[in-house]
């Protein structure tokens, strides 16, 4: 019983970070119908940014977090202007290949520049663990999860409570009508990339507190983010949050029941089952 509670708890902690990164992915999709296949590689870049902030500048990953978020947000805008906008007039296939190719490029450059070595940020502010009843939680994991929860809350507040957030949602729903309101929808596209990539940056900076960093680190997380987005319902930020936590728990519990090597397989299985029963995802619109 205790081990189950322990497993669920650590699943929730990882799930919250997964949820945040998936929220960034689904936001971009929701606003402009583009899937960023380089999503996982954005995460990888964010983690390296945290690593070098620590290794070179001696900054604790928590202190570096705002900088990493800003850097990734800026990178998102650059990718939008340099890669996405030129292919917007092209076919859907061209758009897929553009972001897919970008991901491969980023990974290749990371291999070359950062080498394939595993890196780990050492002696951070958050170390040790604490107990809640029978459950032992790592402090780094808990702080990262809390951070993800806070950033997700900020994202919700932005989308739900501000005029610019309302304009983003309006652009997502009906681009022409948004233009007729005086909303510069190209700017909204750029903003969606800034905020979406910023969310990935936040997830990356938090994950980097305790997770090893290597050029392929985005592969698993990127794939999980896609599953999360589809499970939650394409374009639904709330759905991505829910699905992220769900997948965190499912993979964690699956690792306990089966061999840990199969835990992600179970997540994909869950995803397929949900898609068959409810193709639009948990909170998606039919």
């Amino acid at each position: 019983m205790e081990i189950v509670a322990q497993t669920v708890a650590s699943g929730v902690l990882l799930g919250l970070i997964l949820a945040l990164s998936a929220a960034g992915l689904t936001l971009i999709w929701g606003v402009m119908d583009i899937v960023n296949f380089a999503h996982g590689d954005f995460l990888m870049l964010g983690m390296y940014a945290s690593f070098f902030a620590w290794a070179v500048l001696g900054l604790d990953p928590l202190l570096a977090l705002p900088g990493v978020v800003a850097a990734l947000g800026l990178f998102g805008v650059v990718v939008y202007l340099g890669v996405i906008r030129p292919v917007l007039r092209g076919s859907v296939l061209a758009q897929i290949f553009a972001t897919f190719g970008l991901g491969i490029l980023l990974r290749g450059v990371a291999q070359f520049v950062f080498t394939a070595d595993y890196r780990q940020i050492g002696d951070t502010m958050a170390t040790g663990s604490f107990a809640v009843g029978p459950v032992h939680l790592g402090l780094p994991q808990t702080i990262a999860a809390l951070g993800a929860l806070i950033v997700s809350g900020l994202l919700f507040a932005l989308l739900d409570r501000t005029t610019v957030g309302t304009a983003l949602r309006a652009t997502a729903e009906d681009r022409s009508a948004a233009e007729l309101m005086g909303i510069d929808t190209r700017r909204m596209f750029a903003l969606a990339w800034a905020v979406g990539a910023g969310c990935v940056g936040a997830a990356a900076g938090l994950l980097a507190i305790y997770f090893p960093i290597f050029p392929d680190v985005g592969a698993v997380f990127g794939l999980l983010a896609f599953v999360t987005v589809a499970l939650g319902g394409f374009g639904s930020v709330g759905g991505a949050m829910l699905a992220g936590v769900l997948i965190g728990v499912v993979t964690s519990v699956a690792g306990l029941i089966f061999d840990p090597a199969y835990k992600f397989t179970v997540a994909y299985l869950l995803y397929l089952v949900v898609l068959v029963i409810r193709p639009q995802g948990l909170l998606g619109r039919a």
């Binding site: 309006a170 233009e179 007729l180 005086g182 909303i183």
Partner: protein
């Protein structure tokens, strides 16, 4: 000579993928007036309004708003100059609340005081929108959605409102209420360019009417005069 027109369109042409839809269209709208455009399905009425609001880029001609050329500008910039467009099919933001729809209608306004003024004008015109402020716009009835679409466009306090078939598919009772609201707009400082299927009412409330056929203005004149013309009586009123 009368005062210069608010909107002065001349030689306007527009095409979709090379296929011409509007040919050499000329239309003028006087400040504070209601001007009607009537025409059969596919005549190019919607295309005309989309060209005026910047959703379609004209392939030629000129669109002047109080003498300023606006042809070729993007839609979000044209709203700021005082032209609001209620598109065919309403296009309200169904997933947003009524209040959020109205807030975005006033997106170009700079301060809360102007927003508040706009809201009170809109609520005065359509009291129902005040009651439904918190409701998801997609759950309104068709007629209520049309009120919201017009109210949303009025939030920016436009000098010119482009209305594309506001009564299409709306229950008769609500149609009357919509027309009541539309005739009040000039007194609020908003001139109206109205595209309507409901030819008789449209020409009755319009000071000037234009008949559009396959992308050309074939007849224009005072609304009452058009109502009496053979062309309108035969082709659009069926008498």
């Amino acid at each position: 000579m009368s005062a210069p027109p608010l909107l002065d369109v001349s030689g306007l042409t527009a095409r979709y993928d090379g296929a011409p839809v509007l040919h050499d269209v000329a239309i003028a709208v006087q400040p504070g007036s209601i001007t009607a455009v009537i025409g059969a399905n596919g005549a190019g009425k919607t295309t005309l309004l989309r060209a005026l609001s910047g959703l379609v880029r004209p392939s030629g001609g000129s669109i002047r708003l109080e003498g300023i050329e606006i042809s070729g500008r993007r839609a979000h910039g044209i709203v700021r100059l005082g032209v609001a467009h209620v598109p065919e099919g309403r296009h309200i933001f169904a997933r947003l609340s009524v209040a959020e729809n109205l807030r975005l209608g006033g997106y170009v306004l700079r301060d809360n005081a102007s927003l508040e003024r706009s809201r009170s004008i809109v609520f005065d015109l359509f009291p129902l929108l005040r009651e439904r402020a918190g409701q998801r716009a997609g759950t309104l009835s068709g007629g209520e959605q049309q009120m919201l679409a017009i109210g949303r466009a009025l939030m920016s306090r436009p000098r010119l409102l482009l209305l594309d078939e506001p009564t299409l598919g709306i229950a008769p009772l609500l149609v009357a209420r919509l027309f009541d609201a539309i005739v009040r707009l000039p007194s609020l400082g908003t001139a109206v360019l109205l595209v309507e299927q409901n030819v008789r009412v449209a020409l009755e409330i319009a000071s000037t009417g234009h008949v559009l056929q396959t992308g050309r203005v074939v007849l224009q004149g005072p609304g009452q005069e058009l109502l009496g013309s053979d062309l309108v009586r035969k082709a659009y009123l069926g008498i």
